[in-house]
């Protein structure tokens, strides 16, 4: 959106436009990118944007300080914060690394206590912080925690107790200390505003009666995701009292049902005409799965990635889901299951295939190149793929992108590091070459297999819209990384592990890092001196090195570089060295 004025307007004239009107107009702009562009037009517009901004998205919590945010946006209502580098999901970041939300809460409580929504990803959140949140923000209504850690169910209890206007409680995939299911019972008896409740991550049982009463009180409830220990009896009752649900996460699906119970459950699913998202299904049996068929006609997203379905079971289920756009499964469905996907899901846009058992090498029938080709043949609208496999060929990948040239996200994980094309023994360079040459809209790419610098040459040359690149066990020399830094002008996030890239590679990106969110390099050949050199030359970057125990003093085991206006952070643990130009 181009907001620059067509001709320059004298300053006096521009102030005749009342601020209130300008602000009112600006509130209609929702996208952060648009808002950022608005704020650059002139000082008046900057001010108007500041006063009217309600939601701020901070992709790296250390790129800015809470004080700066609170000062600039005094009336902020909704904050999304992301903390640790993505590789912390895979245990590559020490526990005490940082990204604690508390300092943010303190600042917001004093400056703008009107905060209503907080969405955190990979942040550290303690029970103390949750209590502080619950007690200091009277209008608070939506809490979403994804991949966070540091809190327990006691923290959830304080939120349930004190947040009278809560409409959203979304607890996903966190390192949570699960003490009991008591927290659910902490919602007051007359509490009825909930619209989103997701506790699928939790293990301990919640009180079924309390849950059922809560659900029947909350007439606006749209999203309900149960945890694994929720029984099918409970589910049946919940469905009957909440047929308005649009997203449902069921609990364990392995319970034995009498034919009567099965029929009743199926009947209850039939009530749910508005379901678009279905997930959960731990331990689903084939028989029980058939109970959900009546609810599948409008389904757009089906997440079966917690149950090891067989190909036949998937093949029986899919014909009931003609509108499916997103599907997540485990590789237990095999190539045959993926053929069923290709045959039954013409509208499919996204598929993710996770490994059932990533460390069991005796698995014979996982998914191979045939599976992904079969999906691409039947699903021309495919634009997002995440595929874990144990073998792949260049030819298969080329076929896939020929069938589906609109990929925006292509994430292929050949699980054995450095594995070549299994039919030709060649590197997988041509596979990813085909991806970047064919898929002009590609924004996110994860590469794997045996890869030389040629892959990176292709990426730098063709992947002009690439924003996120994830690299592991690849490349032959510094040139690899240099190709990418020179060619991918839109790159925002680069994460690299176990590659032969050294200081020359690191420094080749000197001019790029300020326009990127972050760079991660671990187990590469970068040294501390190289990091110091980078920090010296680029004052607005934080260059952090995480040292591992017992490694040489000169080696930079893990490097994390990010742009910031807040200067070097002061809360790093001793194992994290921060280099700055000072």
């Amino acid at each position: 959106m181009d907001l620059t004025p067509k001709q320059s307007i004298p300053a006096a004239e521009s102030t005749r436009f009342p601020d209130e009107v300008l602000e009112r107009v600006l509130t209609l702009l929702k996208s952060p990118k648009d808002r950022n562009a608005v704020s650059l037009v002139c000082k008046d517009w900057y001010t108007a944007d500041s006063w009217s901004r309600r939601h701020v998205f901070i992709g790296n919590c250390y790129s800015v300080s809470p004080e700066i945010v609170a000062r600039r946006f005094p009336r902020i209502r909704s904050v999304t914060l992301k903390g640790k580098p993505r590789f912390s999901d895979f245990n590559l970041v020490p526990d005490n690394w940082g990204a604690d939300v508390h300092s943010w809460l303190l600042v917001f409580a004093s400056g703008s206590p009107f905060l209503e929504e907080l969405r955190l990803k990979r942040m550290r959140v303690t029970d103390g912080s949750l209590e502080f949140l619950a007690l200091n923000f009277p209008n608070f209504r939506a809490l979403s925690l994804l991949s966070c850690d540091g809190f327990s169910t006691s923290g959830l209890a304080t939120v349930a107790t004190h947040c009278k206007n809560l409409i959203e409680l979304d607890i996903q995939e966190n390192g949570i200390e699960d003490l009991s299911g008591e927290w659910l019972s902490c919602f007051p008896d007359n509490f009825s505003t909930l619209e989103v409740l997701n506790f699928s991550n939790l293990i301990t049982d919640v009180n079924t009666e309390v849950l059922e009463r809560l659900v029947s009180r909350c007439r606006s409830l749209k999203v309900l995701k149960l945890n694994r220990s929720s029984s099918l009896d409970c589910l049946h009752r919940l469905l009957t009292s909440a047929p308005q649900l649009t997203e449902l996460g069921v609990g364990s699906f392995s319970q034995e049902l009498t034919p009567q119970q099965h029929a009743e459950l199926k009947h209850a699913f039939g009530f749910c005409k508005n379901l678009t998202v279905l997930s959960g299904f731990w331990d689903a049996t084939a028989l029980n799965l058939s109970a959900v068929y009546p609810a599948c006609s409008g389904l757009s997203f089906l997440n079966l990635s917690y149950t090891a379905l067989q190909s036949q079971e998937l093949a029986s289920l899919l014909p009931h889901c003609p509108c499916l756009r997103r599907l997540w499964v485990l590789d237990s469905v095999g190539d045959r299951g993926l053929e069923a996907v290709g045959a039954n899901c013409p509208s499919l846009e996204e598929i993710r295939v996770f490994p059932t058992d990533p460390f069991d090498e005796d698995m014979l029938h996982t998914v191979t190149e045939s599976g992904i080709v079969a999906v691409s043949q039947g699903c021309p609208k495919l634009h997002y793929i995440l595929y874990f496999c144990r073998q792949m060929t260049n030819a298969a990948v080329a076929t896939v992108v020929r069938n589906c040239p609109d990929f925006t996200h292509f994430r292929l994980c050949i699980m054995n590091p450095g594995q070549p094309d299994h039919t030709t023994n060649q590197p997988m360079d041509e596979a990813f070459g085909a991806v970047v040459k064919t898929c002009k809209k590609l924004k996110r790419l994860s590469i794997s297999g045996l890869l030389t610098d040629l892959t990176f040459k292709y990426i730098g040359e063709y992947a002009k819209n690439l924003e996120a690149l994830s690299v592991a066990f690849a490349g032959s020399s510094d040139l690899g990384m240099q190709y990418v830094m020179e060619g991918c002008s839109k790159l925002k996030k680069l994460e690299i592990r176990d590659c032969p890239f050294g200081n020359a590679a690191l420094l080749s990106g000197l001019e790029r890092y300020e326009s990127m969110r972050s760079l991660w390099m671990s187990a590469c050949n970068v040294t501390v001196d190289g990091c110091k050199a980078l920090a010296r030359q680029m004052p607005r970057l934080n260059v952090e090195v995480m040292k591992e125990e017992g490694s040489d003093d000169c080696k930079a085991d893990k490097v994390y570089v990010y742009r910031t206006v807040a200067g070097p952070r002061r809360d790093a643990p001793p194992s994290v060295l921060t280099f700055s130009s000072l």
Binding site: D89, E173, Q261, D362, M415, N425, P427, F473, R497, G502
Partner: protein
């Protein structure tokens, strides 16, 4: 019999049968020198067992350097590698990139499948126990230096299983399976040929601890009752199929 077997073991070159960790399958090449993980270097069973056991490997791997020149420089710069000690795949921290949450979910599922189901809902009546999602059984083959494991749930028929085991052990066949693999097992002439010849015969240990010939019962029943598989030499299998042999005798 015993001495013949002993001779057979003497001729095995144990260096050739050295176990290394890595993926199964004959086409995975050894890792390049200095590679960080070195975990790709497992040789296929066909290669390790070799002709000493008189098996004919279906895919003879070229043991020479399978790498093109392009690969030579790969990973050479990783300095602190010890190529003599390739770590198991599971030891590579954070690889494959799967969130801890997901790994825990699958681990819990696996262990809960192994244990007896403890919670049964009060209202449900028990007819048949629902089979666990995975049914891993050990597969041993007479003369082979190590065992394999297969998940019987991943197959739909005897011929599927036969095909896979065939790939795993290269020259092994259950015999010609028609659309109903079971039927051909009982085909008397084939059975006799197997028993008289030097081919291998699959047998399995059932829930009662008895050793049975594979193929007698419907596939689903076999999957539920099979505890382990043993691919035995034909000459040892005679005692397993007395009915078939008698039928055969009565006809000839």
């Amino acid at each position: 019999m015993a001495t013949a077997e002993a001779d057979m073991y003497v001729t095995i070159n144990f260096e050739e049968t050295e176990l290394r960790l890595g993926l199964p399958g004959p086409t995975v090449p050894p890792p390049p020198l200095g590679s960080r993980t070195g975990a790709a270097g497992k040789r296929g069973f066909s290669e390790t067992v070799d002709l000493k056991l008189n098996l004919s490997p279906s895919a003879k791997m070229d043991g020479c350097d399978p790498h093109g020149a392009a690969i030579k420089t790969a990973n050479n710069a990783c300095s602190n590698n010890d190529p003599a000690k390739p770590p198991a795949k599971a030891q590579v921290v954070g690889w494959p990139p799967i969130r801890s949450f997901r790994k825990n979910v699958m681990a819990v599922q696996k262990s809960s499948n192994d244990a007896q189901p403890s919670k049964k809902p009060a209202a449900a009546t028990t007819t048949a126990t629902p089979p666990p999602p995975a049914a891993f059984v050990k597969v041993s083959m007479d003369g082979a230096p190590y065992l394999r494991k297969v998940d019987l749930k991943l197959y739909n028929s005897y011929s599927d299983l036969s095909e896979s085991l065939g790939k795993m052990f290269s020259s092994f066949t259950i015999g010609n399976c028609g659309p109903n693999g079971m039927k051909d097992f009982m085909s008397e002439s084939k059975l006799v040929d197997i028993l008289n010849g030097s081919e291998y015969v699959p047998s399995y240990e059932d829930k009662d601890g008895d050793w049975m010939l594979v193929g007698d019962v419907p596939w689903e029943m076999f999957v539920e009752s099979c505890k382990r598989l043993r691919i035995m030499k034909g000459s040892e299998a005679i005692g397993l199929a007395p009915r078939a042999v008698e039928k055969c005798k009565s006809r000839s």
